[in-house]
Symmetry: C2
Amino acid sequence: MSTVGKALSLLNLVASLSEDTGLSEIARLAALDKATARRLLVDLEAHDFIEQDKATKRYRIGAAPVRLARIREARFPFLRTAIPVVKALNEETEETCHLSEFSGHELWTVHVETSPRANRVIVDVGSCYPLHATASGLALLAFLPEESREAFLAQPLKAFTPHTVTDPEALRARINETRARGTSVSRNGLEPGVISTAAPVLSADGLPVGTISIAAPEVRVDDARLAELNSAAQAAASRLSAALYGLDIRQKR
Amino acid sequence: MSTVGKALSLLNLVASLSEDTGLSEIARLAALDKATARRLLVDLEAHDFIEQDKATKRYRIGAAPVRLARIREARFPFLRTAIPVVKALNEETEETCHLSEFSGHELWTVHVETSPRANRVIVDVGSCYPLHATASGLALLAFLPEESREAFLAQPLKAFTPHTVTDPEALRARINETRARGTSVSRNGLEPGVISTAAPVLSADGLPVGTISIAAPEVRVDDARLAELNSAAQAAASRLSAALYGLDIRQKR
DNA sequence: CCTTATCGGTTCATTATGTGAACCTTCATT
DNA sequence: AATGAAGGTTCACATAATGAACCGATAAGG
């Protein structure tokens, strides 16, 4: 792997740690030599992607991404466009809604609007869940090019609950359903008692750039309600695709 | 220079270009070989820091910084904390106020609240002005460690108007005044007819992380008004330092 | 008070990685 | 058909990355 690749992976790793972390632990987590990890951290720090607490000597994510993100958002206002859509979906459904973005072969939660109900599902911004165990993941997989999908299915897949589907053949069936219907459903895939539904946000070339999804406690969702949530998620995702990239490609077919 | 350093500088460069740019031009601007530039771009693209338009083959900043920025801001809410302060200053003074952040040896404009007046100063988010020609730059230099300041003053300094101070000795005098008073003033340093004043935002260790500044058409600013703006900027910066890092260090002295 | 085990950080011989002149293909212009 | 400039690729060579061993500091345990 290229040195730059290692540095960026390391940056990702440090960003994913929820508190300042020491050199040795970072090196261990990244499976890099301590000297190598340090050199990369120093390089990243010189450009403010990482910062080191002078007192504790521990490392954390720096300020440079914020500056770059402003530039990116000024040109491609993904969040600025997407957040109102997610908010509206949240108000309409009164369930936890979240927006995920596909970046670096993974699906990252970039915005969450939490349900106003007492019994609700909590999703963390910044989290990154396995594609096969979530509704968002299925929605994404369904619209990914065949080869990317198969590459994913070829990996060993972990089960998170007794309900997690890990068999590639069974997953293919669910993915095909998802593609036909336009929305995915996951019951207890990642956490027991949670049902979620998701629809892909598609770019101008028809490839998914992310997903919008709704997660609710299973007790509130009967079949009729599930159909409602499905079409709400679908509508929100289509609206967002259209806002970002012009007419939704699915409507052109 | 390390390969990682080159990659990050290249990323910075691409981010600073206001439109999609081809490989050859990027290589030229970065003073890198075309093959090297491409390898770095590919590495950056693999992690979504850069993206390439499939149709035009041109490169632009990618989505990864947005994801990292959300994580950073969740932990260190610089903008979330700072923007209300800048807004309040703008409402109080009715002049254009902006927040700059010191990152990578440069001072970047990260937020602007524009004056409601017809005759007003416009400052662009994302811009990066020379330290010696702006009030913000002087405020920053005044509170930087001696060696960083001297390293900056040792460079050749460009004059932007006949009023731009470029003599290191004269600048030192103005910097010392600034440090003594706590705020800097720049008359016509960068653009004729503009007067601006700035105060540093200081972190817990007393080093500047950025500045808050006010820019106004000279015709509206007599000595009394200047004193008002000075103390308003100073108060805003102190409030922000306190909000971000606890008690303002200057008040402890 | 010495031993042991961490920690962050550094060194330097070895080696893998990055480099760039020259090359290829494509495409628009002359 | 010739030209030039684009994006992209190749490979002998040079440089920069690597990591085992090291240092000094700090903390816990006997």
